[in-house]
């Protein structure tokens, strides 16, 4: 850095880095506990009334939802790999030219990012599942990675607290591997889904069960937010705030306390370490627009910038005491990067339901909780996968795969086509030391901050597991009555599931982990990392709900410690 950082005199009670799913929760919990809190967000302000675009119909867009291909190729060649980076919603994804990173030549990693107030909670897919002791005990049982320092009983009250605020719709199933919450009413299954569910239950008894997805979308009014109106494209925003995002719920709650200062356009460069005090004192920031270098001070710092960004900030926080980065005295900072495997499974068509359809666009699918190495052991791999699934009737695009034109063809295209049903496995990824990130000595982002080199591959366990996921998926669709069954066996590159995690893992031992069981850095008592970096294993469930519960718990711990004068 050539520019000197200009310090701000004011010291906050707390600084939160990131305004997404975990930063928003920290902002709410800390301000509601009476702490004057500064929230720093790298990207611009998002104003729902101005920026949400979920109701923009295709005919209002030049390319009718087919995307601005040339702009995507030029500015978002990585981000465009995510379905949600579409013609209407691509403003919620970063510009890849401003935010470069590299990978090994034959090892792609797709880093999908949203830098704005609300972060990726604006575009997340909202599936919300609890982890269980099957997951928290897995590393200890298998002798892989480090043992989680917590168990389900430690986190259960915080899952309760988070779900009560955000609102999760779903169906209680009483399964030990997928603990229930206090759900809002479940969404409907389609006729075909319900029929397949019943046939799977008849054939596989208690071991495989299809349930409706558990999703952070309101099925009735909740905490001042309106019930869903089923328009469909949640990833473009939600004017009625019916799905949970920090922008829709936690940030307004923090704002209401009068104790939050939200500063957008604040790209955090590093955390400031005070060697004499043995504490962190604040953060260094580059203003996104002016490129001014600034310092902000606070008594406690929470990093919730996403696993890779928070790890990058810490790796860049070098001092005489921590030459390899703050929080890295163990040497594991940036290592054990995980994502969930995705995109293998099966699809089929279903006949006999031509007279049936559905109304509206359900922002949710069905879910089959993990059964592999729960009730059905596998000799070939450890851990397991769950399925997300969805059925629908084909639309007019089927006209491209068939002959026809003219009045009759036109009428036919306005009718719903054949029923299709797809099951997609989401698999657990093992924590491996050789999946890691490091700072690039050469390349920087548009703000002069060192870019990342990302080294990440799937292991054989994931590949073998996901082949099994495809085969068992096909088996269930066949049992369910499907025909024309197609196996989907191509794994997408790591990163694209957008569940990257594990690079600041929590553990029981300061020599093998970055954080303790309260997300508190072993190296600095007043530094917490609250995003997915804390995960010691990935489980196979969508992780955001767990990140939020961990954040809520970490904040309560920090507030109590502060009140006791220990922080």
């Amino acid at each position: 850095m050539s520019a000197p950082f200009v310090g701000r005199q004011e010291a906050y009670d707390a600084i939160v880095v990131g305004s997404g799913i975990t930063g928003g929760w920290a902002a709410k919990e800390l301000t509601e506990a009476g702490l004057r809190t500064l929230v720093l967000e790298a990207g611009p302000m998002i104003v729902p009334e101005r920026d949400y675009v979920e109701h923009v119909p295709p005919y209002r867009m030049p390319y009718r939802g087919w995307n601005d291909r040339k702009a995507l190729d030029a500015d978002q060649p990585i981000q465009k790999e995510c379905y949600a980076c579409d013609e209407m919603g691509r403003k919620f994804f970063v510009n890849d030219r401003e935010n470069p990173y590299t990978t090994d030549p034959d090892k792609p990693f797709l880093w999908i990012r949203g830098r704005q107030v609300g972060g990726r909670s604006i575009m997340w897919a909202r599936q919300s599942y609890r982890l269980s002791d099957l997951d928290f005990e897995a590393n200890a049982r298998d002798g892989i990675g480090v043992d989680w320092p917590i168990r389900y009983a430690d986190l259960a009250p915080w899952y309760d607290r988070v779900e009560a605020f955000i609102g999760v719709s779903g169906q209680a199933e009483g399964l030990p591997q997928l603990p229930d919450g206090d759900f809002l009413p479940p969404m409907d299954m389609t006729c075909v889904e319900a029929a397949v569910r019943d046939r799977i239950a008849r054939r596989f008894g208690e071991t495989r069960r299809m349930t409706i997805g558990r999703t952070a979308v309101l099925t009735r009014d909740h905490n001042g937010r309106k019930a869903c109106h089923y328009c469909g494209p949640c990833h473009r925003g939600c004017s009625t705030k019916s799905y949970f995002s920090s922008l829709n719920a936690t940030l307004p709650a923090a704002e209401a306390t009068g104790l939050m200062t939200l500063r957008p356009d604040s790209v955090v460069h590093s955390v400031i370490w005070d060697s004499d005090k043995g504490r962190v004192t604040g953060v260094r920031v580059i203003d996104r627009e002016s490129h001014e270098a600034l310092e902000f001070f606070g008594h406690v710092v929470f990093l919730g910038a996403s696993a890779l960004e928070s790890s990058r900030i810490l790796l860049n926080s070098k001092s005489a005491d921590f030459p390899d980065g703050l929080g890295n005295s163990s040497g594991v900072l940036g290592r054990y990067l995980m994502d969930h495997t995705m995109s293998t499974g099966a699809k089929a068509t279903f006949k006999g339901w031509e007279a049936h359809g559905y109304t509206g666009e359900r922002p949710n699918g069905v879910y089959i909780p993990r059964f592999r190495n729960v009730t059905e052991p596998s000799p070939d791999f450890i851990r397991g996968y769950g399925y997300q699934g969805w059925s629908s009737r084909k639309g007019w695009s089927r006209g491209l795969d068939m002959p026809g034109f003219g009045a009759d063809f036109k009428r036919q295209m306005t009718e719903p086509g054949v029923w299709e049903f797809e099951l997609g496995a989401f698999g657990e990824c093992l924590p491996r030391e050789d999946n890691y990130i490091e700072l690039d000595a050469e390349q920087t982002d548009a703000w002069g901050i060192p870019a990342l080199k990302i080294h990440c591959t799937w292991s054989d366990n994931e590949r073998i597991m996901m082949q099994d996921g495809a085969e068992r998926g096909a088996e269930m669709l066949e049992v369910g009555g499907g025909t024309d069954i197609e196996l989907l066996t191509d794994l997408t590159a790591p990163g694209l599931t957008i569940h990257e995690m594990g690079t600041t893992r929590m553990g029981r031992d300061p020599t093998t982990s970055v954080l303790n069981g309260f997300n508190q850095a072993w190296d600095a008592p007043n530094l917490f990392v609250i995003d997915g970096g804390a995960m010691a294993s990935s489980a196979c469930q969508n992780p955001s709900l767990t990140y939020m519960a961990l954040t809520s718990r970490a904040c309560a711990y920090a507030v109590e410690a502060r009140n006791r004068g220990e922080l």
């Binding site: 119909p57 970063v94 089923y230 359809g357």
Partner: protein, 198 residues
């Protein structure tokens, strides 16, 4: 601090775009963040890529694929203008040239068969020509050694269907509502064929 380097994307899209010298951050941001809301041009808007003959030929082709019935035809909802927008800003130069070259084969075809430009042919002659194009497309579709998407008529049909069914009238014919208000998962359609995705 503003140093910028090549962004290498390996294994993703295979592209290696460079950050062009002289770009400001605000330029990059406006490209990255701008969502254009002006909408597609309406029927009758000025064309940029299609010349008059090409526009007449394509318009007539698209109206044979999606003719006027109780609901409007392809051209009445602006499909020709949509395709012109694709040709101008969406297709690569190669793709555009290839599409226009395909359009340029239509009038010579109809001249040979019926001694008239395609748009001037009698309806039954137009139907006969489109039937032949569609039959050839179907032959390629069923030939494991061929890629039917490389056939010019595939794009004619693709752009016509997409332009029509993403137009306001086209979406209405599908029962589309921006705000459905409810999700009912399992309903008996009031009459087969209507409102599967209303």
């Amino acid at each position: 601090m503003r140093r910028r380097r090549a962004l290498r994307i390996l294994g993703a899209a295979g592209a290696a775009p460079l950050i062009a010298p002289g770009w400001s951050v605000s330029d990059l941001l406006s490209l990255g963040l701008d969502v254009r809301r002006e909408g597609s041009p309406a029927s009758g808007a000025a064309l940029e890529a299609l010349n008059a003959e090409q526009a007449r030929a394509f318009t007539a082709l698209s109206d044979v694929i999606i003719p006027e019935t109780a609901t409007p035809s392809a051209s009445a909802v602006g499909v020709t203008e949509f395709v012109d927008t694709l040709l101008t800003g969406w297709l690569s130069e190669d793709e555009r040239d290839w599409f226009l070259a395909g359009i340029d084969t239509i009038d010579p075809l109809s001249q040979r068969a019926y001694q008239a430009a395609f748009a001037d042919c009698a309806p039954e002659s137009q139907v006969a020509i489109v039937a032949a194009l569609d039959a050839e497309l179907d032959r390629l579709r069923n030939d494991p050694d061929s890629d039917e998407t490389r056939n010019f008529f595939y794009d004619v049909k693709r752009f016509t269907l997409a332009g029509y069914f993403t137009s306001e009238a086209g979406l209405q014919s599908l029962g589309y509502r921006i705000v459905p208000g409810a999700f009912e998962g399992c309903v008996v359609l009031d009459q087969y064929g209507v409102g599967g995705r209303r």
